[in-house]
């Protein structure tokens, strides 16, 4: 199984990198760009075929290491 984990800053946590990206896009003439929030994507390969067990594992991985839940939130996507 393959999984993709999206990690982004929680709402309300200032994202200076996102702000800088937004300013740069505006500077390039993309005037439609408002707020920008950036984050990271982690792709994982998992053994086993039990999707529910994999999701539970991924959640534990996010809580223990992949995300710092003081400032970040995560989303898990499982691909067959």
């Amino acid at each position: 199984m393959k999984a993709r984990v999206f990690i982004t800053l929680k709402n309300g946590v200032l994202d200076p990198q996102g702000k800088a990206i937004g300013h740069a896009l505006n500077g390039l003439g993309f005037g439609s760009v408002g707020e920008v929030r950036q984050g990271k994507v982690i792709d994982l390969e998992l053994s086993g075929s039990d999707a529910e067990a994999a999701k539970a594992d991924l959640k534990a991985m996010c809580e223990k290491l992949l995300a710092n839940t003081v400032i970040e939130k995560y989303e898990i996507e499982l691909k067959g």
Partner: protein, 220 residues
Amino acid sequence: MKSAVIVFPAANCDRDAKTALTQMTGKEPHMVWHQDSELPDVDLVVLPGGFSYGDYLRCGAMANQSSIMGAIKAHADKGGAVLGICNGFQVLTEAGLLPGALMRNAGLKFLCKPVGLTVEETQSSFTRKYDKGQEIHIPIAHGEGNYYADEETLDRLEGEGRVVFRYTDNPNGSARDIAGILNEKRNVLGLMPHPERVVDDALGGTDGRAIFQSLIEALS
């Protein structure tokens, strides 16, 4: 006072900490490898500055997975003193030994310069040799020192007198100008500035000495 400095790969300030501790205490600290799982019998554990594990994933996140962290948590639980400097502060927040997190500097730039700090709290083993409200100058060297915690946590830190150092001119966007905080039991201190770099006039200042003098008085 017996001390130990944890040696993480790529934490380049471990030797600065060793030199400062040796100079201040007259005894060399134990240098403890991150893969060890036990600490020697010491009063103080220092988590040094640097870029442990190349700051992979998040600053301090990988170091927090080291074998030695269990022993550090046990030492802190028993009331043993722990000092986290810069990357060490980041490790302590990742480990949950201190609340909040250190984020990318608001100006996005790595900052390496002396900064002004006020000593907010002298009721601690780390700061008893300073005067309350004293202004000191200690260098910073970080890209991610922007202290963040939710409002409730910040109020609690202030209410409990756990904000120990504040920037006089906030360089990195830290909430409420916070440069260093204590845990609830007041035996764990994390700060972004580098006191170990200012213990000798030859290095441009001695404002960091009082932290070590405080610890020596409190722990010896």
